[in-house]
Symmetry: C2
Subunit: 334 residues, 2 copies
Amino acid sequence: MATKEEIINSLETVLVPATRRSIVATNLVREVNVTDGGVHAVLASTGLGQDSQEWIAAKAREAVGRLAGVTDINIEYRAAAAKDLNTVGHVLAVMSGKGGVGKSLVSGLLAVALRRQGHEVGILDADITGPSIPRMFGVSAPVAGNEEAILPVPTKSGIEVMSINLLLPSEDDAVVWRGPLIARTITQFWEEVLWGKLDYLIVDLPPGTADAPLTVMQQLPISGIVIVFTPQELTAMVVRKAVKMAQQMEKPIIGVIENMSYLYVPEIDKKIELFGKSRAEEMARSVGAPLLAQLPIDPNLARLCDEGNIERYDGEVITRLAESISQLMEERHA
Amino acid sequence: MATKEEIINSLETVLVPATRRSIVATNLVREVNVTDGGVHAVLASTGLGQDSQEWIAAKAREAVGRLAGVTDINIEYRAAAAKDLNTVGHVLAVMSGKGGVGKSLVSGLLAVALRRQGHEVGILDADITGPSIPRMFGVSAPVAGNEEAILPVPTKSGIEVMSINLLLPSEDDAVVWRGPLIARTITQFWEEVLWGKLDYLIVDLPPGTADAPLTVMQQLPISGIVIVFTPQELTAMVVRKAVKMAQQMEKPIIGVIENMSYLYVPEIDKKIELFGKSRAEEMARSVGAPLLAQLPIDPNLARLCDEGNIERYDGEVITRLAESISQLMEERHA
């Protein structure tokens, strides 16, 4: 007879339809009991339509059936709330206060960087009125799910994404909602999306210090905040508001990232500081957090984002970002 | 005995303390009655502390006393709501949906342009959580006023500004408010600020399609909306949401402006399209509104904004902008 571990290993090969992840990685496997009489497995039905439940049961039977000595597996589905299934290592919120400084870009690059290191990564796009993440990664609707929960949409490299734009009939549609409804949507993205097992969930916050960032800080177990800014003093002023908000709510700022630091013009081999002199060191000092990166303006990166191919970006900054972040998170845990 | 017109003309010389405008331009002069017995004037006390009321009364007496045949003027103060005093020709909302595309910059440039044409211009900074206007114009607190109303702060060239940053103890302070409170603040900026007589009030909207833009569209008598975008397709997608919102609320879009169209590098006499190929014509066509301007990335303009000297900018775009807008508004009135 196979052991429980062997059975769970074999269930690792059973993918959830419309995703790139197994029923084990999504935490859908709740119990596995091995007795002389056979194998009994309890799966959560969270986010699974009737078709998907039957498909998974059939594939699970096939997978387990390949093990020596297993003749039968009994599969039972039970309802469970997504939030009871989700196990997320670190929730990192990317914040800037000011719009258009590249917060979504940094969220995307962070996710790509951590994913390349082999981590399980998700992105919760909390920018309900100006969501950019799906376009950047080239992912689109439809979203699978049932009345209990919905499933994130995987990117090409297997990053799990949830964004309001995946739920709208057209990505151009406006979400003309008052704050409380927006706040509720973000809460739902946390509680009613089957994230499963993640090492990192990156939360792309909207600009400002109003409802949306407030909700995220109050309701999500934030491990750390990454602050994004640009060299313009005007931006720095608004970003300091976001920093004050994080401090008031006692959330740790784990690092700062300067975006649009400079433009490199190869024809004259010159860096042009388009938005003024870098304030990176100054900002890091005033926030009391390390400077994680200075990102140049890179037309190639802008193009990749427009094409939905941010995952193809190979700037060296990606490697450095991932190293800094995972080192930081280890230190915080040590 | 002087005529009523002569008396009002002389009151034009009486400035409201802490502003650059007269009691006539601010609509504080409510009634002027000339009789054989003397002159009786009714002024609104709106926004005037006791000191200011006395100062104005003394200066009015001086001014009128210089007229031939006027021996006495009786000045009476009456309470009045600011919204009953304000007479605004056109309310133009600058909108983008997406943050950081330069909406505040366009609001500022529009105001500067219209002011240079000799119009009376105000800016209502509706971006409560990320206000940029005061910094751009180098204006700061304190704001004068009384329990009825507050006075906008004038810029160097006499543009009237109201922004949450003028009311905060420090400009770095975060406004950590839920939507309804933010909406109420914007309504107050419209109803409880003594704008007086304005030809144009430019409303700098926050990004997104949530509470703040919703409130402005519902509660302010918008004459037209100017849409700002940048060449990135990602931006265009979010901006189209704002366009849809404006259309749903049946507000006329009077024009579109492309910001960050290109960077001119003098060393190689080349325009670099940093954020991809211009989509200006395409956007104008899809919105069904004229393209008012294509603004380059101009490090000089960025520096002027950081220094609070946007009014010193002399790019040719300023002239073109003012001409297009005032022509458009005349056509709408004809």
